[in-house]
Symmetry: C4
Subunit: 227 residues, 4 copies
């Protein structure tokens, strides 16, 4: 990645250079993997907990070539904390709703082929069920392969506040709250972690498990339209 | 990419070094992705609007290793603007016909596996229909996933002037003109944008959507010869 | 890979820098290939034969970004040879049981998509049978393609000592002992060699042969649930 | 690739450094593409025509990490031209039989997954037939997509002299001689060209066309065992 100048000392981004560079490197890696093509995807890290503030990618930027200027600091309502910053994505509220959870330090939104395809094929079941894989132990809090994860699927919409409310309800559900990540139909995946490293690990693990699911289906006859 | 000397000041390429290097980098990236293998593919950018002049890759060059000398300036008839330049591709007219449209700054012609295979399997339907994907919003002018794109398919031919006329008719159609890109049967894809960045984004987005289409078909039983 | 300081002279890792760097480079390569995502996988090399001592990756490290500190020296019971070292993986005994064999210098544990999927689909047969491929000659001791390898599959468990015993029994079997590598169901692969280069070659060869097996099945109709 | 010292002036390799480095770079690229894993594959270029002498990779070397010492000069019988050189591959005669053809400057032997799988599935038909693809024009002498290439398949054997004779017969056939390349069943591919660049282009083109063939089959129901 090309070296770029630090933001001016008066910018709200000043002092966040290390986090910005970590997100830029994350973007380059996710673009190379094919999980963040074009200007799709958004990434954020928590920079203040009380009040909640997120450092998040600006809207419409190529994720393989992020510069230090392609970021915004937003509050828990997804609004820029000071004027003169670039616009953040329309999906910013899907980041803040997760970042409000205690213990969340980073949120990654990606668009892989398998997440996009499986989110549609399993939509009626409500989730992609992943059971019995050793790799599940790469997800925070899972200590045995004898575990079943439901990667839930939400209907896609352009009404982001409404979707954010649906996600909040599932995140804060007292019986079986959403963990690790979820899919949006024909759209992509959200994952998170206590810090950026854990969120990156969760992307790798869930994408691996979705690919195993898809390739296993191809070898055993696939999902048929009627099913 | 290895550094190469600038063209001599008397070359028609002089002064276009930045655009040349951007196309060279584009070629290297498309070759790495497997979309421009061998000496296939051609890329162009508009360098003059009135009269129309394009900077375009010379014929028969390895797209992963373009040098600064592997380019030509051509006019709207696809002819070199001055003698002594390398030959441009036989498909140059397929670039100029698109570049004549107002607002087009760059044209990319690629050959991926999925574009090649789907252009044949969907030939009878006349287009690959892509509907309901969030990633469609990466195409210029599309603001919701509730959209259907028809990636039209033209029959392959070695008679490029005739194909260029067919494409012109569809590009300038007053009711439903071609947008973003099209396929040529068992051959490849043409895409464009207001500048090279947008054309690159359109390659990434359409290739992603073609791959989703193909992998979804593999999971649901595929297209059968009779269909 | 970023340069990192050598371990202090008092560390049990002192003097093993070349082996450590070779394992770090191996981890980066396996991560890039998608065989060691997240913090999965473990790699080891024999550093002493009598008594047996292994240099092995520490538990829970990202295999694409191993540092010189992310290693431990363990004895044949999988215990650290001196205090103050990081924890080694729970699967350390699966390394030592192989390293005890005469002529073994390195053991690699990986998690590819195909190993994970085929280890489940062929579990009832007990092995993935690979026959007649020229590439089999890349496995130590095989000199003709007219050969059949059984890549055996063990049931996955969190009881590593018990699994290590099962593996030992097969490794030391007097009639048809395990050679080159084996799979663990829905988990991954273990391979080994006389040195790290040979173990790496065995990963490449077995993964290639598993991919050939899987793609051949996809082209010929696949495995059906009832089969 | 790490820099390496030139061979001593007395070595038969002295003076061939540029060709050696081009083959090393070719090996690294083919290894990265997954076409030359482990120590499989061999590459050669003609260094003398009368008498015929080839510069060829030595036996058993990792193709992703070739050093300047990993090469041999052989004569038309596949014998080293002077003592003290490393051993060349058992398949050297498959290089010399092609290099004897007028106009051949380089021969590449690779092992991709698709070449390996399709060479078995199409063995009974005797060839993989590839027709109507624009990309065929990337093969020397083909000027229209309205062309059918037969990528012929030979049975695998460890008797290389016998196989070399079969290949010679097809290469020198007066009616329809072998062109561009051929497959060996469950083994891999041989391709060639007037120089290394053309041979590399032929690898890319034929591999692309084999992948199109395979993926088209997967989308249309595949080859069934009875077919």
């Amino acid at each position: 990645m090309t070296a770029t100048a630090a933001p001016p000392a008066t910018s709200p981004l000043a002092g966040h250079e290390a986090k910005i560079d970590a997100l830029r490197e994350t973007g380059h890696w996710l673009w190379q993997r094919g999980f963040s093509l074009g200007t799709s995807s958004n990434y954020s890290v928590v920079v203040s907990r009380d009040p909640l503030e997120l450092l998040i990618t600006a809207s419409g930027k190529d994720k393989g070539r992020l510069t230090r200027a392609d970021f915004v600091i937003v509050d828990r309502d997804g609004k820029a904390t000071s004027p003169g910053q670039p616009k953040s994505s329309a999906e910013t509220l899907l980041h803040t709703v997760v970042a409000e959870l205690p213990g969340v330090g980073a949120v990654l939104h990606t668009h892989s082929v398998w997440a996009t395809v499986l989110s549609d094929l399993f939509f009626k079941q409500g989730a992609v069920e992943i059971a019995g894989y050793e790799m599940l132990k790469g997800l925070d809090g899972i200590t045995t392969h004898e575990h079943t994860s439901q990667i839930e699927i939400f209907e896609n919409t352009q009404d982001i506040p409404q979707l954010a409310e649906q996600v909040r309800e599932r995140l804060t559900n007292s019986i079986r709250p959403l963990k690790h990540g979820y899919l949006i139909r024909k759209h992509g995946m959200y994952t998170w972690g206590k810090d950026l490293d854990e969120a990156r690990r969760h992307v790798e693990i869930i994408e691996f498990l979705l690919e195993c699911t898809a390739r296993r289906l191809m070898l055993t006859g696939g999902l048929h339209p009627a099913s």
